[in-house]
């Protein structure tokens, strides 16, 4: 699968490295080149391109016309939303995934047909589950107990 990942932060870079290891053809985009050396492992074989993913010329340079998938994972919800819609509606990319922190915005774009994921919603659920878990994890302090 040829995949373009926009945003080389912690999540974007981890996804890029994982897909690269699995043998996919990966291109990572970021406006800040330093992110590539900061987060991508030395073994990464994919391409890195510096530029803004809402710029159609940059997306073309990243090979969006031949891409099978596009993932928008920058820190900006609006930038992710715009880039995903460009990938889907202008370049006809089959599989587009968009990260949206704001759960309300996520719901709206989900209803508009984007494949969205909200780390805020998922993170809050995981925190709640951890909080309510019966057994404290092994090795954790057992607490004083009155």
């Amino acid at each position: 699968m040829r995949v373009i990942i926009m945003g080389c932060g912690r999540a974007g870079s981890l996804l890029a490295a994982t897909l690269d290891e699995e043998g996919h053809d990966v291109t990572v985009l970021d406006i800040n080149e330093y992110q590539f050396e900061r987060f991508l492992p030395e073994t990464f074989r994919g391409r890195t391109i510096r530029g803004n993913g809402i710029d159609q010329d940059i997306l073309r340079k990243a090979g969006i016309e031949r891409a099978d998938a596009f993932v928008a994972a920058t820190a900006g919800d609006n930038r992710n939303v715009m880039a995903s819609q460009i990938a889907k509606h202008i370049f006809g990319v089959q599989r587009v995934v968009c990260r949206i922190y704001d759960p309300i915005r996520e719901e709206m774009y989900h209803n508009l047909g984007l494949r969205t994921t909200s780390p805020t919603r998922v993170g809050a659920r995981l925190l709640k589950e951890a909080l309510e878990a019966d057994e404290p994890p092994a090795g954790a302090p057992s607490g004083g107990g009155e």
Binding site: I54, D55, Q56, D57, G76, D77, N78, R79, V81, M82, A83, Q85, I86, H89, I90, D102, I104, R105, M108, N111, L112
Partner: protein, 225 residues
């Protein structure tokens, strides 16, 4: 009319000022609080602090009863989201967005936001007429993806010396008028013969622009038999 303006920068500020003077009810949504204070000081309490891309903020701004929403921040992506929230959550009947990168007009249009204004495009269309090498000038953008363009026929073009009926135009394109090299305007007919230096004014779809330019400027195709 009730008009909500997202973005209280220079564009938003002066728009609000003009609209208030024209007796419209106006509300500016601005994220940055020093700017909010500045606007309130000069225009009065017609400004609200918040992120205009958020549905909750647009709701507090009364977007549900707005006749018009103007998204005029400096960021194309913020303006797009503000417009989509206004359209899909609050069904605002008329929406206008400011865009910086003219290439973004296409995605706005595909997403149903027809009213876009780009300072970059406006300035380009002014100076394009002074750039002699530019083969196609966009004169005016119309609704539904149409635009009015001007193409100058170069001496080497295959269409030189041929009547219009022989010119194969792209889909949904129409030649409206011709201004010849001497500056005489003509209403074209099928028999009108094209000459080098003619300025052809045509209506076309934005995606057919390149094909139209090619039809009127490309050198003749060599015949091999």
């Amino acid at each position: 009319m009730y008009i909500v303006i997202v973005g209280g920068g220079k564009v938003g500020f002066y728009l609000a000022k003009e609209l208030v003077e024209a007796n419209h009810e106006v509300l500016i949504i601005e994220r940055n609080s020093p700017k909010v204070a500045e606007i309130a000081e000069s225009l009065g309490e017609i400004v609200m602090r918040g992120d205009g891309c958020e549905a909750a903020i647009q709701e507090r701004a009364g977007a549900g009863r707005a006749d018009l929403l103007l998204a005029v921040t400096g960021e194309d992506e913020d303006n797009l989201v503000a417009c989509q929230v206004a359209r899909h959550v609050f069904h605002v009947p008329r929406i206008v967005a400011r865009i910086n990168n003219p290439k973004n007009e296409l995605i706005y249009r595909k997403l149903g936001i027809d009213g876009t204004v780009s300072a970059t495009s406006a300035i380009m269309s002014h100076i394009e007429q002074e750039l002699p090498t530019h083969p196609l000038i966009s004169l005016l953008t119309l609704r539904r993806g149409f635009e009015i363009v001007e193409v100058r026929v170069p001496p080497e073009a295959g269409v030189v010396g041929r009547p219009l009926r022989d010119v194969l135009l792209p889909h949904q394109s129409l030649i409206w008028g011709i201004v010849d090299a001497e500056g005489n305007p003509k209403a074209p007919t099928a028999d009108t013969v094209l000459h080098a230096g003619d300025e052809v004014v045509a209506v076309t779809l934005q995606e057919s622009e390149e094909a139209l330019r090619a039809a009127l400027t490309a050198p003749p195709v060599p015949r091999s038999f």
